[in-house]
């Protein structure tokens, strides 16, 4: 058990270091870049009075030497203070980004579930019927969608299902003017707006899961305990369900964590195409309008969430796979 504790401590420690490095990166990217570093923190709009700019410079100690600035930055960051948004004046950047996070979590959460389940099913059938028409067919089909830019697939979905068949809405997360509430009609509205974004996000990632699941299952099927199970007289279906699949699922847990970074990247594109009010849409809008406090807050928040999710997956792996503890 001492080994287990060492493994866990090490993983948590590494995650903390990664977050710390992200903080350093965030600091340097926005303050030390050539050009005028002040432009990333102080709004450059000429209509804004100088005294207001001076106030911000003083608040973040931007006239101080770099190492003092770093400490000010760190203490502000630990209080989740990235300054106020330039374009939505008066709104703290962190509050704004947090309010957008809900929609992104709904979007990425739903499609993560779908891509894992569908990918695993395809992987299992492909491995089981190796070399069959289903195997080659599903592989080329999923690679085709994997090769597709997420934003372009989203555009195609709009062409077919929104403007063409007029089945589903293509804009925002709720009908215009509605608020997020706990009512049945709101839930239905949310679902209708969610369908196309989720499809666009899910389909492209299925290949990643099905290919790994297929490979993993083929590997497991050559293990001796599978031969034993067969020798006991279990049916092929039982062997698959009780012995092969549970063991083949281990790499999937790690994959879900790694894939999270790609799901977030895809979510950014989906949100832009569908004007979905999530964190990706907010980040890209902030980038194009040079709203740097929001960009910093979003970068920080996404980094922390993704690193935390990776840590959870790592810990889950330790729990699920006894071999990791023995290392």
């Amino acid at each position: 058990m001492r080994n287990l504790r060492t493994v866990l401590t090490r993983k948590i420690f590494n995650s903390l270091i990664t977050i710390f490095l992200v903080l350093i990166l965030n600091f340097f990217l926005f303050r030390v870049m050539p050009g005028n570093p002040l432009q990333f923190i102080v709004p450059q709009n000429p209509e804004i009075p100088d005294e207001f700019k001076d106030k911000i410079i003083e608040k973040y100690g931007l006239d101080e030497p770099l190492h003092i600035q770093f400490f000010t930055y760190m203490s502000r960051t630990l209080q989740f203070d990235f300054g106020d948004s330039f374009i939505y004046s008066g709104t703290p950047a962190m509050d704004y980004v947090m309010s957008k996070m809900v929609y992104t979590l709904i979007l990425t959460g739903t499609s993560s579930i779908f891509m894992v389940v569908i990918g695993m099913l395809i992987g299992i059938i492909s491995a089981w019927k190796r070399g069959s028409l289903f195997d080659t067919g599903s592989l080329s089909f999923s690679l085709f969608f994997y090769a597709m830019p997420t934003f372009w697939f989203a555009l195609m979905l709009i062409v077919v299902f929104s403007t063409g068949l007029k089945w589903l809405p293509s804009d925002s997360a709720l009908t215009y003017g509605e608020q997020l509430e706990l009512t049945w009609s709101c839930f239905v509205d949310l679902l209708r707006h969610l369908i196309l974004p989720v499809i666009s996000l899910t389909v492209g990632s299925i290949a990643a899961f099905s290919i790994i699941m297929r490979g993993s299952l083929i590997d497991v099927m050559t293990e001796e305990y599978i031969t034993t199970a067969r020798a006991k007289g279990l049916s092929e279906g039982r062997v698959l369900k009780d012995h092969a699949v549970p063991n083949a699922m281990l790499p999937m847990v790690a994959l879900i964590a790694i894939d999270l970074a790609f799901v977030v990247g895809g979510a950014f594109q989906t949100e832009v195409v569908f004007n979905y009010p999530g964190i990706g849409y907010a980040t890209i809008e902030a980038t194009l309008k040079q709203d740097y406090p929001i960009l910093q807050a979003a970068f920080f928040l996404i980094a922390v969430v993704v690193i935390a999710a990776n840590l959870v997956a790592d810990l889950l792996m330790v729990y699920l796979d006894p071999r990791v503890k023995m290392e």
């Binding site: 270091i17 490095l21 690679l143 990706g280």
Partner: protein
């Protein structure tokens, strides 16, 4: 991406490339012969892989398109009876900028009055260019970090791996957006290449490092060390040649990802300007600005998009085939 990077640590099959006895090089002619034999062997296996061959076919098509773009446009102008071969930056439609497909402009004209078909053909050039150069940047960086990290081990490895983690864990698009936003200067091809390269090296570094760790334990490295070979000599002469096939197989998938990244960056408005550089990505951005969907100009979106899909698919297929060859674990049993 994650997809095919299947357990590189265990791919111990391709035997160590040994350079004669006592770690010395054979005469160059001998080496070339050996190399040629290896290439022929790989090709013999590759030829039987339908995916790899299909990918190679599609890639050849786009390469020809990129190299002979002016000639192709000229040929089309003769066939279509246009009054001259268009230039991708030529305003061919003056009275109305956006026009639907017509006999003179088979795919219509875009928001700047440019001929869309001409731009699709020329667009293959920048897509391939960005894909290849960005891949060289990220593979070079990743291989260097992986080699050093794996060979040094200890605290220097630890430091480099923590930095690699940052780039590995953070969503690629988020990193790219932040880099593209804070780097000075406007959007240019060079900047896009830099941004894609700097965000894409981390998984290569991991794979190379793992491979170096497994190589280090093998007898031929120990032998080289025993007769007094230095660290850098061993890395250069023994470790790198053994890691290279893996890096090469991976880099093909990286090209696919780089092309996807370019189109995404261009689409969200962080790529090169459409009046300076033609890319399929910024054509799609223009189509969005021109409300192509609302106006029913579907070809404007469909054709550049399909070009991206098929070019990326070509590299994915080739990469997948290479992975099957270099990772015999995946070969059908």
């Amino acid at each position: 991406m994650i997809i095919m990077k299947s357990t590189p640590v265990e791919s111990k099959s391709h035997g160590p490339v040994e350079h004669g006895r006592f770690g010395m090089s054979e005469p160059t002619v001998e080496k070339l012969k050996l190399y040629k034999k290896k290439v022929t062997q790989t090709w013999r296996v590759y030829r039987k892989n339908w995916m790899g061959m299909l990918g190679l076919g599609i890639l050849t098509f786009f390469l020809a398109m990129a190299v002979f773009a002016p000639q192709i446009v000229w040929m089309l102008s003769v066939i279509g009876g246009w009054d001259h071969a268009y230039d991708p930056f030529e305003q061919v439609s003056t009275t109305r900028l956006v026009t639907p497909p017509s006999p003179e402009h088979w795919l219509g004209t875009d928001i700047r009055g440019y001929d869309i078909l001409t731009r699709v053909i020329y667009g293959s050039r920048v897509s391939l260019e960005i894909g290849l150069v960005a891949t060289i940047v990220s593979m070079g960086l990743g291989t260097a970090v992986g080699l050093l990290s794996g060979f040094w081990a200890g605290w220097r490895d630890e430091v480099m791996m923590r930095i690699t983690d940052v780039f590995l864990v953070l969503p690629w698009l988020v990193l790219m957006i932040v880099f593209a936003a804070v780097l000075p200067g406007g959007a240019s091809v060079g900047k896009v290449v830099f941004v894609i390269g700097i965000t894409g090296w981390s998984s290569t570094a991991r794979i190379v490092r793992a491979q170096v760790f497994s190589l280090k334990e093998r007898a031929f490295i120990e032998r080289a060390r025993a007769i007094g070979a230095g660290d850098y000599y061993i890395v250069r002469k023994h470790i790198f040649p053994n890691v290279f096939p893996l890096v090469f197989a991976n880099s093909i998938l990286t090209v696919a990802l780089s092309i996807l990244s370019e189109s995404t960056l261009s689409y969200i408005g962080l790529g090169p300007m459409a009046n300076q550089v033609v890319t399929w990505g910024n054509m799609l951005q223009d189509a969005d600005d021109g409300k192509a969907i609302l106006n029913g100009l579907y070809l404007w979106i469909l054709v550049p998009g399909m070009c991206i899909v098929f070019l990326v698919l070509a590299f994915t297929f080739i990469g997948y085939a290479m992975d099957e060859i270099y990772n015999p674990k995946l070969r059908k049993r």
